[in-house]
Structures are given as C-alpha cells and as structure tokens.
C-alpha cells in the first residue's frame, strides 16, 4: 500500500468515526465531516455536469458543426432568468418545454410499462409449476442452422446440406409445431402449458460451443384441439439477433400448472380494498367502511414488510462501515506500527 493510499484510508476512517460520533452527541468534529460531505457533493456534481452535459453534449458538438444545438442551449440559459423578478417569466418557456417533453415520455412509458402490466398481473390467476414432462410428440418442425458473417458456408454445405438456414442479419419466420395428447391426470385447477425451446447442438467441427437456449415460455403459443382429441402447439419465431451461429434443434415439452386460487383471491381483495381506503369522496360507513378497514389491514401488513426490510437495509449500511473499519483500517495498523 502506497503512502497516498494509506492516507486515503485513514482519512476515510476519520470521516466515518466523525459521523458516528453524532450517536453519542452533537459535536464540532461531526459538523466538520458533515460540511465537508455537503461541499464535496455539490462541487463534484457541478464539475460532472459541466463535463458530461455542457461540454460533451452542447459545446463540443456545436463547435463540430451541430449549430442547431444553440436552441436547447438558449432554453437552458433562460432558466437563469428566475434570479430576476422582472424577467423570471421568460424561464417559463424553458419549463414548458421540459414539462411537455417529460409528459410525452412519461405518459406512454408509465402507462405501458408500469400501470397496464401491473393491472394485468393483478387480475390474472397466480400459477405454480408442478412438474415439466416430456410427452411423446409428433414434431412437425425441422432443425435449423443460424448463419452469420463468421460461418464457413462451404463447410456448412458439406456437413449439413439438408438443414434449413436462417440468416441472423435477415431472419425469416421459423415456425415450431408439434402435436401431442394431453395427459388425463390434471385436477380441477390444473392445466398443461407447452414450452417451446431451440436447443443448441454442440458441434466443434463447425462452431466452438453453443449453449442450450429456451426460446419462449408458454406465452404466444397457439393451441389447436384436433378432431382426434390431440393438441397442436404452434409458435412462430423471427428474432434471432441474440443467438450464436450454429445448429439448433426444436423441442416442445409441457409443464403442469396449478392455479393458486386462494393467493389470487387474496391479491385481488388486497388491491381493491386498499384502493377503496383511498377513496375519500364518500364517508367510510357501511360496506365502504368495512372494505376500507380491510384495506387498512393490508396497508399495515405492507408497512410491516417495508419496516423489516428497512431495518435490514440500515443495519447493512452499518455492517459495511464496520467491515471497512475492522478489515481495512485496523488491517493497515501493521504498516504504521
């Protein structure tokens, strides 16, 4: 450990102990450490934004010819008019632009990324996988070879002349299809769901190594019940960007799912009653009052879980500092004494 590193280590230990000293009582050493932290944070942030935003994304591109960037530059500069009572209204133009852009991005992303998927998941029944079984199946799909710019086409033609090729750069649609008979051992709240997989074949002649890949789960697979009682599962796949080049074989298995009815009901009751607790346009009496009270219970249980995790989080922070003091700082004593 160099002298500078040792000095840094001792400075870190001093600041850590200075902040811990507040637990005994407020004192000047604690205040010094607190003010150093606040000052460093502000200074570091100003420097970072100057470098990564003002220079990298505004000034340098403008110098390189992207002159139109002066428009957002001026909009940013107008924000400083807030310091003047007379001209502060001008800053509203910049704020309006920021609000418009933010709303445009957020409305779509929040709705499609958070609200709708969470609502959808609340309403669908929870399931658990009991077992995955390999059933006798009639596979109607053939193996494929995913080709990219590194593939030796001459070698491929000699080794696998019959195998269908799919170009990674320009992939065509590949359809999985298999017919099977569903087992009769399912209960009332159970069902069988197919899983489609493309399994990479390890062939060191043409390609080093290909990992097994599960292409898709039970979503997006089309199921058709045939007249003889068998089921045909069909799944089309056209996105091969993430595949390594090599030979792949299709495989379809089924997994037995159980609908966890009680858990699904509890979740729906919890969500609805909690939302009703926050409905304040009507007095909480009668059925509304009872539902709101159920909602409070769900909220309290949620707070309990949050509190437990918060305790764990805060203790972890202390453990991190103690780990540093015991292992690094005390460990450095032998270099000094």
């Amino acid at each position: 450990m160099t002298g500078i590193e040792l000095f840094q280590l001792w400075l870190m230990a001093f600041v850590t102990l200075a902040l811990f000293s507040f637990m005994y009582k407020d004192n000047p050493i604690y205040r010094i450490a607190e003010h150093i932290f606040a000052g460093l944070t502000a200074g570091y942030q100003v420097g970072l934004i100057w470098d990564t935003v003002i220079l990298q994304q505004l000034w340098n591109p403008m110098i390189d010819g992207e002159w139109w960037l002066f428009i957002p530059g001026i909009l940013g500069f107008l924000m400083f008019t807030r310091f003047s009572q007379k001209f502060s209204w001008i800053s509203r133009m910049s704020l309006a632009f920021v609000m418009g852009v933010t709303a445009g991005i957020f409305i779509i992303s929040q709705l499609h990324g958070l609200v709708l998927p969470q609502m959808q998941d609340t309403m669908i029944a929870r399931t658990s996988v009991d077992k995955t079984v390999e059933l006798p199946m009639t596979l109607q799909s053939e193996s494929i070879f995913i080709v990219d710019s590194t593939t030796d086409m001459a070698l491929l033609d000699s080794l696998y002349p019959e195998v269908k090729r799919i170009d990674k750069a320009n992939p065509e649609e590949y359809i999985f299809s298999a017919t099977y008979t569903e087992p009769s051992d399912k209960g009332m709240l159970e069902y069988y769901a197919p899983i489609c997989s493309l399994i990479g074949v390890q062939d060191t002649t043409i390609k080093k190594e290909i990992a097994a890949m599960e292409v898709h789960d039970d979503n997006g697979i089309e199921l058709t019940t045939n007249s003889d009682g068998t089921i045909t599962a069909t799944y089309s796949y056209s996105s091969f960007e993430k595949f390594n080049s090599g030979l792949y074989q299709p495989k379809i298995a089924v997994k037995k799912m159980s609908i966890m009815l009680i858990l699904s009901i509890i979740i729906v009751i919890g969500v609805v009653s909690t939302l009703i607790y926050f409905y304040f346009s009507h007095e909480h009496v009668g059925a509304l009052g009872v539902t709101a009270k159920v909602g409070i219970w769900f909220i309290m249980i949620s707070f309990g879980a949050h509190f437990g995790y918060t305790v764990m989080g805060r203790v972890s922070l202390l453990i991190g500092r103690v780990q540093f003091l015991v292992e690094d700082w005390v460990g450095s004593f032998n270099q000094l004494f």
């Binding site: 970072l48 499609h112 990324g113 989080g313």
Partner: protein, 278 residues
C-alpha cells in the same frame, strides 16, 4: 424504580452500543450461520446461466457509495458470473455521485482476475445526466448518448462497441439500484425493447420490486445484503455479503429481543399507571 421502569427510561445510546457490538463481534469471532436461497435469487442465477456464452450484457451501477455494503457484492458476483461465461460487459451509471468510478474500479479489478481486455471484453460508458433521455435514447443509438466512454475514448475506437449500436444487440441487463431508476429500466427499456432484465436492489427498495418479479417484468430479484449473499453462494464466490450476514442475523435477533422487551415494559408501565389513577 423497578427493572421495567428502568427499561422504559433507558438511554438510547445503550441500544446503539448493543447494536454496535452485535455488528463488530461476528467479524472478530465469525459465526457460520446458514443462508437459505430464495426463489427470486435463484431466478437471477438461472437467467444469467441461460444467456448464451459470449453474449453482450449490460451491468448498470445505479447506486450511491452510501449503499456499497448492499449493492457492491451483487456487482462483484454478477461480474464473476458474466466473465466466467465470457460475456462482453457494458457498464454504465445513472448516478452522478460515484456511480461511474465505482463501475470502473470494480469492473477493472474483476477483469484483471479473468484476463479480460478493456474495449474488447468490457467497456465503461460512465454517466450521463437525465436518465429518462439516456434510457430512451440508447434504444435508438448508444453512441448518440455516449459519444465517448468514461475516460473520453470515442466509442468507434472500442471494438466491443462497434457491434453494439443499441439495445437490439444486448442480450441481458443486470440493473443494480438503490433508487427509483429501476422503475425506468422497466417502464422504458423492458416495455419498449423487451430486453430481459433482473434487478439487485437495497433492502429498503426490495418490497416494491417483488410485484415486478411476479409480473415477469424483472426475471429475478436480489433484495439487500441477504440477496447479495444468496447470489454470492450461487455463483460460488462467498465474499463481503456472506461475511456480513452473520452480523445481520445477530442484530436482527437483538432487535426482536428489544422489541419484545420494549412492549412488555410499555404494557406493564401502562398497567401500573392505571392502578395509580384508581
């Protein structure tokens, strides 16, 4: 003044002392307490295992230095896992204070252990202000958002980045966050581009993200130091989080004991107070 009255009036600094000792002692006298693996942590491990060897992945350092104890062990374990599978790792941060430098220090340290070369096997894009614009913009072009890496090298000069124009070339995202940026990775990147992702987060944030795991938006979740310790075990590199869990368990036992003691003291005190009133 009886025992329970003394308990009620106990100076809080005695509690600090007891918590402090419970944390320090396991580091001096290690306890080998078992750590069970939760399904969420197992999913994180399984999802990383599923990535084809040699794929390009993103490891996001969205945490402040204050939560290093919980988040850094996750990052280290993830790097062990990725480098072992010869994945190409792109690191970045949406946290101005320390994010890029922590990513740089941790990744370079791990890369040295696996003989990985900067620019070929891993790249640190660093930090850029405005995470919403950053996450959206990278879907079109990573280069337009990060013209250079963290140390100012243009992306054209880094072989790894010449093959990664946007999210389409990223097989997997491992987001480690101590704040709400994880929400935006889900609502912007997962919702619009469908890149599979897992999340490692602080214990304080973990309860919120369980619903994202249930809905399949996150494929797995590591919650706090416990989650980090589980992942360290699964990856097979027991380190800071596993060591810290003994102290964590001891403090939890102490807190449970103090909560019970405090409640008994409170109820007995209230009973005595009622008698006095009668």
């Amino acid at each position: 003044m009886n025992f329970w009255e003394k308990m009620e009036k106990m100076d809080r600094r005695w509690v600090y002392l007891m918590v402090g000792l419970s944390v320090i002692l396991p580091f001096i006298f290690p306890l080998d307490l078992p750590i069970s693996i939760t399904p969420e942590a197992q999913s994180v491990f399984d999802e990383v295992e599923k990535i084809p060897d040699g794929s390009t992945v993103m490891l996001v350092f969205d945490y402040y230095p204050s939560t290093i104890a919980e988040c850094e062990p996750m990052a280290i374990a993830a790097l062990h896992h990725f480098f072992r599978k010869n994945c190409k790792v792109i690191t970045l941060s949406n946290i101005p204070l320390g994010g890029p430098s922590m990513a740089e220090a941790v990744t370079r340290d791990m890369a040295e252990k696996y003989n990985k070369v900067y620019g070929v096997d891993f790249v640190n894009l660093g930090y850029k202000y405005g995470y919403v614009a950053v996450l959206s913009g990278m879907g079109q072009s990573i280069k337009s958002i990060f013209p250079t890496d963290n140390s100012g090298t243009p992306l054209e000069e880094l072989p790894l980045m010449t093959n990664v124009p946007n999210y389409d070339s990223v097989a997997f995202i491992f987001e480690i966050a101590d704040n709400a940026t994880a929400d935006y990775w889900v609502s912007i990147v997962y919702a619009q581009y469908g890149v599979p992702m897992v999340c490692g987060t602080t214990a304080v944030s973990a309860p919120k993200y369980y619903s994202f795991v249930a809905s399949g938006q996150f494929k797995g979740l590591l919650g706090g130091m416990k989650g980090a310790a589980e992942y360290e075990q699964l990856v097979g590199h027991n380190a800071a989080a596993v060591t810290g869990m003994s102290a964590q368990s001891l403090v939890h036992l102490l807190i449970i004991f103090l909560v019970i003691l405090g409640n008994i003291s409170f109820f007995l005190g209230r009973k005595g107070h009622k008698k006095e009133l009668v």
